[in-house]
Subunit: 494 residues, 2 copies
């Protein structure tokens, strides 16, 4: 029961001439062409020496060769190591070595970076393949016609806002169950088209490549985020679903101005962290169908989603665990009461069985490291990273809660909150704000605003106006580096 | 990766107040009520002595207690043995004994039959539970909150048109993959409602109970086939999908007369054997969205379906194997060429791992016993049972092909074809026809009609007009009993 037909073989059987991927200016590739290209590459790679079980790294932007390489490697039975193109050569070298990579496929745009990274590894020129010179062959070589759900297919390093990154292993089954869980939640229509503007090397983008072949649903692939191009896709090119993170949705709405989306556009899947309530309200006013989701690399993308019918009644919630998944909140080893914040634990067939070389996930439930609570109806509210919690005079303060208030202050472009040492309270919250151009924000203005929305102990005791927030290669704010970004900039407080 | 949350627990979590099942005149039960009833029954059964792993038979018509019992037994972890209510006490006794049944749940309507059957088994009064007196309890007893996909959940005897029936075992995973495969094929919408008029003890009806809790999709349950009631459900009660067999579709269309179905009605899933082409043409003329399917108990219902977009272009085909399944035609141990008829073999996670006490299915592919061929695009055409093939002067004749022609003759109500011994050709086809009232059919009329549609060797050499066709408890025609039904009736031929 743990084998399914190779998903691209199947789509080629079911709907060979259907467009699989739209990309570039006006280009597209059908399922039969995608299969053909992937199979030729699989054979080319095998002739070069790539074998089943080999670890093959991909360092690439969102170009059509990315999915072709992904499917080629599944025909070979090799394990894909997805590399983040924003990493430094040193960081790449760590991952190439840690993941025991023996082959390295590189986007021409990153050839220099790739070579630099390779120099600190045991890889050499023979092991690197650039995407503009992919080896193709048409020999009669056996390729996988089935996929074993228990086999590891991909490894992705968690972005690691603290500590060394670890490689999350995903089996074919993890990806399959994730795609199916999403379909059971969002429904599935023959007219669906999913736009992908998230990086393909992250689970958020990669999971759409999987839905493309598991559902047989066309996708529209962009090589970068461009609000104008995306809005055009939604308004004029039949896009029905788009996955974005908060900042992207903000930009889409800004670009949309007074225009609206067609009724056939049925879902903005919004993930990647806590979402400010004002943004959700604004989207709701514009009738934009926003589905908040919660997920991570370890859960093969979304595992909790707010269902369409509850989107307004439970504004700010990430929803409930998808059909094949379970969710529990633990506090001090016991299950939390409603509204009690604790660590979110998840279980389900889309949850990774562990990190490469770190041993298998032994616990029944995966501890996510995220803090959250359930309301009396069991809806999840994600509060923050457990590690980022500030303890102030015995009270727990989650930075994201404070941030979601601060973002409502006029003139605030971006905001981050972290704890600072305080003689009296142990820790107190400090606010870091990037201002909109031409505005001014004083400590007093901030504190006054907060008094209407937050308990006194949650109000930041210091305000730092900075020019930009420190982010990692996955574009996530690194709170522990906030104070370093203040150097030379001025702090205000009392 | 082989565990999922108990599906009814999950639906109760996701949409407790949503109607799960509509039944009776105007009755309905929500997911939370269905859960509550099922849990109370589970606890009542456990207090009575039913344990995880016990084999519990259900002998029942399509009443609301049926799904309640099904879910209760999944909470207990017991294995359900689905009994056909049309079986004789003797046949029931065989299945109760063969399946090692230790508990017996009986519809009040079949209490007498159930007791008669029990007398030839080791079961006694303590082991029988009637559905009008189901034990319910509210004690604090542990019930399964997860389901293991590898655990056996149901056993159903194959209708066995030849030989002793065998119990097909289905795991939770078989049912889960079957439901998901269907959703990937047909799509899934929040407004879907599936009408079930097939017996629940057969896989065709049972699989809809599974979709009910796996998708969280409401179903409308009828206790018997009634064309008027079904057409009313489709036209006025939001039914979007219905599963039927050929004769049911004929009656639905007859009752529909000049009326039509609403646009929201999106699928007639038509299974249960070869379908006469004139019926498909007629349905197409009336814009009825018929999806032909092919499946059997061993494949947990449909495994091959003709996709919407191909329904007209490939009239008469059963389509292609669903996404997680594979299909091959074998002739003499080799893979058949296009249009070459051979035995249909299938593989996939919805395929049963074997028959109870008959050892596991060892072969990679399940040999279905059905004959069929693929066209040059890989679409399946089911021809007939391999065993029913007639060999006439070295030519293979499949009765179903001949029947599909004969049904087109004016005045023919029902038809069956089988082989009869012939000195010259070894075997020749013989036709058995049930006439419509007030019509007359001569051998010459039949033969003349056939000459336009069939090769000479396929034209029946004898015609028998009979009053009804011999059918088994599953309502399938038993061709080997055709000649017995002729006794006292007249044969015509040359």
């Amino acid at each position: 029961m743990n084998e399914i037909p190779h998903w691209l073989e199947k789509q080629n059987d079911l709907q060979p001439t259907k467009v699989a991927i739209e990309y570039g200016e006006h280009q597209s590739i059908s399922y039969s062409e995608l299969r053909e290209e992937s199979r030729k590459l699989a054979k080319g790679l095998m002739k070069k020496g790539v074998k089943s079980g080999d670890h093959v790294a991909i360092l690439s932007g969102s170009r059509i060769e990315f999915p072709v390489c992904v499917h080629a490697l599944s025909y070979v039975g090799a394990v894909i190591v997805c590399l983040n193109m924003r990493l430094s050569p040193e960081e790449l070298a760590f991952q190439l070595t840690d993941a025991d990579v023996t082959w390295f496929i590189v986007d021409p745009e990153f050839v220099e970076k790739g070579h630099k990274a390779m120099q600190s590894t045991t890889l050499n020129e023979d092991h690197i393949v650039t995407m503009d010179r992919l080896p193709k062959a048409e020999d009669s070589i056996y390729l996988n016609d089935h996929l074993c759900l228990d086999d590891v297919f991909t490894m992705m390093y968690t972005s690691g806002t603290t500590g060394k990154p670890k490689a999350v292993m995903h089996t074919y089954g993890n990806h399959w169950f994730s795609a199916v869980a999403s379909a059971l939640n969002l429904g599935l229509s023959a007219s669906d088209k999913w736009l992908v503007c998230l990086p393909l090397f992250h689970i958020g983008g990669f999971s759409i490549l999987m839905k493309n072949v598991i559902y047989g649903m066309p996708i529209r692939m962009l090589d970068r985020f461009d609000a104008k191009v995306i809005n055009n896709g939604i308004r004029h090119h039949g896009v029905t679903i788009v996955s974005v993170v908060t900042v992207m949705l903000q930009r889409l709405m800004k670009d949309l101005q007074e225009n609206s989306y067609p009724a056939s556009f049925r879902c903005v899947l919004l993930g990647g962290g806590p979402v400010p309530k004002p943004l959700l309200h604004k989207a709701s006013e514009k009738s934009i169908p926003v589905f908040q989701t919660y997920g991570m690399t370890e859960t093969s993308s979304q595992i909790v989603t707010l269902s369409p019918s509850e989107a307004l009644r439970k504004l700010g919630s990430a929803g409930k665990a998808l059909a094949p998944a379970t969710l529990k909140i633990f506090v001090d080893g016991r299950i939390a009461k409603p509204y009690e914040t604790g660590e979110i634990h998840v279980k389900g067939p889309m949850v990774s069985s562990g990190y490469y070389k770190k041993g298998h996930q032994e616990a029944e439930y995966l501890a996510t490291g995220d803090a959250g609570y359930l309301d009396e109806e069991g809806f999840l509210y994600v509060v923050d990273r457990v590690k980022d919690m500030i303890i102030s005079g015995g009270e727990n303060i989650y930075p994201a809660e404070v941030e979601s208030v601060l973002i409502g202050i006029e003139g605030v472009e971006e905001v981050a909150v972290t704890g600072m040492v305080d003689d009296e309270w142990g820790e107190v919250p400090a606010a870091f704000i990037v201002k909109k151009e031409g505005t001014d924000i004083s400590f007093e203005k901030m504190a006054t605003y907060c008094r209407d929305h937050l308990a006194p102990y949650k109000i930041p005791k210091q305000l730092f106006i900075i020019s930009q927030l420190p982010r990692n290669a996955s574009n996530k704010i690194v709170r522990r580096k906030l104070f370093q970004s203040v150097e030379g900039e001025q702090g205000h407080g009392h």
